[in-house]
């Protein structure tokens, strides 16, 4: 049944679980001819952006950099420092990054209930209405994460990194003092194809919009046997297959429930 997709699809991959959820939800919304209300879209996007940011961090610190601590690179002059900093499990970076990552993923506790494998992202938006105090808490977590990135990862303000738009600018930035984990990495390894990511800007932007419009609905019922409101004329009576059980039922308006009056 269509609703199964929201359970099965995220479980394709535990790393990009929400990305899969969003894809499934969009496909279902498309099939139903519906779209989430603006706040629902914001909340779902914010959930996706949070996972996306966390994955950048996980990839860099836990999956990618430990490779440079391998014995294959002993001859390189940066090897000793890399071993101390990035060695798998025992290095100083993994043990510093995991708590920061866990703190950042508290965004998910508020936005999606849990991570990975949430059902908060739905074709009709998000299941999680955010109160203003919760939006404040999201800001607080995001600020903490920004501080961590600026102090530990980049050694400069995020805006500086985001403004790097060419390879030359990146090289110039590497030469500057400031420390951080990314600078020596790019200096020593000449990862010239690295492009500064602007992914961090997205949650900030969406949080801003969300704070301005709090109180608006975040979800529209799509799968729970309601008909998308936009597609049919309200007075038009027609049969519509219930997306949960597949039975057709007569419907007149967007918010009519399948089972409520037994039709």
């Amino acid at each position: 049944m269509p609703a199964d997709a929201l359970v099965l699809v995220p479980r394709i991959c535990g790393i990009c679980s929400v990305a899969q959820s969003v894809a499934a939800a969009l496909a279902l919304a498309d099939a139903a001819g519906s779209s989430p209300p603006p706040n629902g879209r914001l909340a779902a996007n914010l959930t996706l952006a949070t996972e996306n940011l966390a994955d950048h961090l996980t990839h860099f610190y836990l999956f990618f950099m430990p490779d440079f601590a391998r014995a294959d690179y002993t001859a390189s002059r940066w090897h000793a420092a890399t071993v101390e900093r990035f060695r798998a499990i025992a290095g100083s970076a993994p043990n510093e990054v995991l708590p920061a990552r866990a703190r950042f993923m508290q965004m998910m506790g508020l936005l999606a209930g849990k991570w990975p494998h949430t059902l908060a992202v739905q074709p009709g938006g998000s299941t999680r209405p955010l109160q203003s105090s919760e939006i404040f808490r999201l800001h607080r977590i995001l600020r903490d994460f920004r501080r961590f990135l600026e102090r530990t990862t980049f050694g400069c303000r995020l805006e500086e990194v985001a403004a790097l738009s060419s390879r030359n600018e990146l090289s110039a930035w590497q030469q500057q003092a400031g420390g951080g984990d990314l600078r020596p990495f790019s200096a020593h390894r000449r990862r010239s194809r690295l492009v500064a990511s602007r992914a961090w800007q997205r949650p900030i932007h969406e949080l801003r919009v969300l704070s301005r419009s709090r109180g608006a609905p975040v979800s529209r019922r799509v799968l729970g046997s309601t008909i998308p409101a936009t597609r049919y004329h309200p007075d038009q009576r027609r049969h519509f297959p219930c997306l949960v059980c597949g039975r057709r039922f007569a419907a007149t308006s967007g918010e009519r429930r399948h089972s409520a009056d037994g039709r």
Binding site: V7, G14, A102, G113, G215
Partner: protein, 330 residues
């Protein structure tokens, strides 16, 4: 205690969930508890090629192994050969490695519902013939057989959940390292009782709605998610609403229904969710049609940002006591 972690048919989400442990650096905590990771496919420096020798040593007993953790279900197909997953491109199927190492390890831990019961990987027609270590869904048996006991006399320890809470994993490992986990600490399905003795319902912030039978009609509504959205929190064994996820979350707090992912029968919400949503009602409820009338009256739409403002009092109607353990009537 040393620990070997193997992954087979699954999404890797259990490891990722484990990494969001919120009690300081996870690796340091493990070291403090005396758990040493010999090899983990995502976290260790050694690749599969280098790990093969280590794993062979664990399998033939040249290296004593204390804890074998398996994440993901074991693939027995096609035709019982196990060839759908050969470890690291070698010849021997993963299921065979796991069977051998499990026979020698001091403890065997199934991390997640896939490794415990088959889980999502075994959903539908189960084309890969996936199963859990000691269970195939609700049936005991699985890869190792129902009579399997590790060298300390324990069955497979099933940290069921999709994914399991990071603390469930860490605490189970710590208990094993301290020799504090005995047979009486596991429930009927081999799940550690420190979390499986609870129900998701316990501590659910929507319990008042449940008791007053005020049901949510759609996601993001306030109200109990059981009747119309098929929440299975009253039957799901886990402490999700007491030990919160990612700071202050849980499925119910996230506004969506519990799908009972710690359950041996968990293979996706699908048909079960529908069956539940159609057939369920609150205990003590006389008839479904009547119940729906009550719900419509009790649960008029509540605006977001207006918590508990309306429709929560129904004068003259005493709340029905929650009766734990009461059997479901269909």
């Amino acid at each position: 205690m040393n620990l070997l972690w193997l992954q087979s048919g699954g999404c890797g989400g259990c490891t990722l969930s484990w990494l969001v442990s919120e009690h300081g650096p996870l690796f340091r905590e493990l070291a403090d508890e005396g758990v040493e990771i010999l090899w983990h496919p995502s976290l260790s420096e050694a690749g599969v090629d280098e790990a093969r020798e280590l794993i062979a040593q664990c399998a033939d007993g040249r290296r004593a192994l204390d804890i074998l953790c398996v994440e993901g279900s074991l693939l027995r197909g096609p035709q019982g050969s196990g060839a759908y997953h050969r470890f690291g491109g070698g010849i021997r199927p993963m299921a065979e490695w796991v069977r051998q190492i499990a026979g020698r390890a001091r403890h065997v831990v199934a991390v997640g519902s896939c490794a415990a019961f088959g889980g999502i990987t075994a959903a539908g027609v189960n084309p890969t013939d996936a199963c859990g270590l000691q269970y195939d869904g609700e049936l005991d048996g699985g890869l190792l057989g129902s009579h399997f006991r590790d060298s300390s006399g324990l069955p497979v320890i099933n940290i069921a959940g999709c994914p399991p809470h990071p603390d469930w994993i860490t605490e189970t490992l710590a208990l094993l390292a301290h020799g504090q986990l005995g047979g009486s600490d596991l429930d009927d399905y081999g799940r550690p009782r420190f979390y499986a003795d609870q129900l998701v319902h316990h501590g659910c912030p929507r319990n008042e709605y449940y008791e007053f039978k005020a049901s949510a009609a759609k996601p993001s509504d306030q109200g109990c998610l059981m009747e119309q959205l098929g929440c299975k929190g009253t039957q799901a064994h886990a402490d999700c609403n007491q030990r919160l996820w990612n700071g202050e979350g849980s499925c119910l707090r996230g506004g969506f229904a519990c799908i009972r992912c710690t359950d041996p029968g968990f293979r996706g919400a699908g048909s079960r969710l529908r069956e539940h949503a159609e057939g369920c009602r609150h205990p003590h409820r006389p008839a479904r049609r009547h119940a729906q009338g009550l719900v419509r009256r009790a649960c008029r739409p509540v605006k977001v940002g207006d918590p508990g403002a309306r429709a929560r009092e129904r004068p003259g109607r005493p709340p029905v006591a929650y009766a734990p353990g009461q059997a479901w009537r269909k």
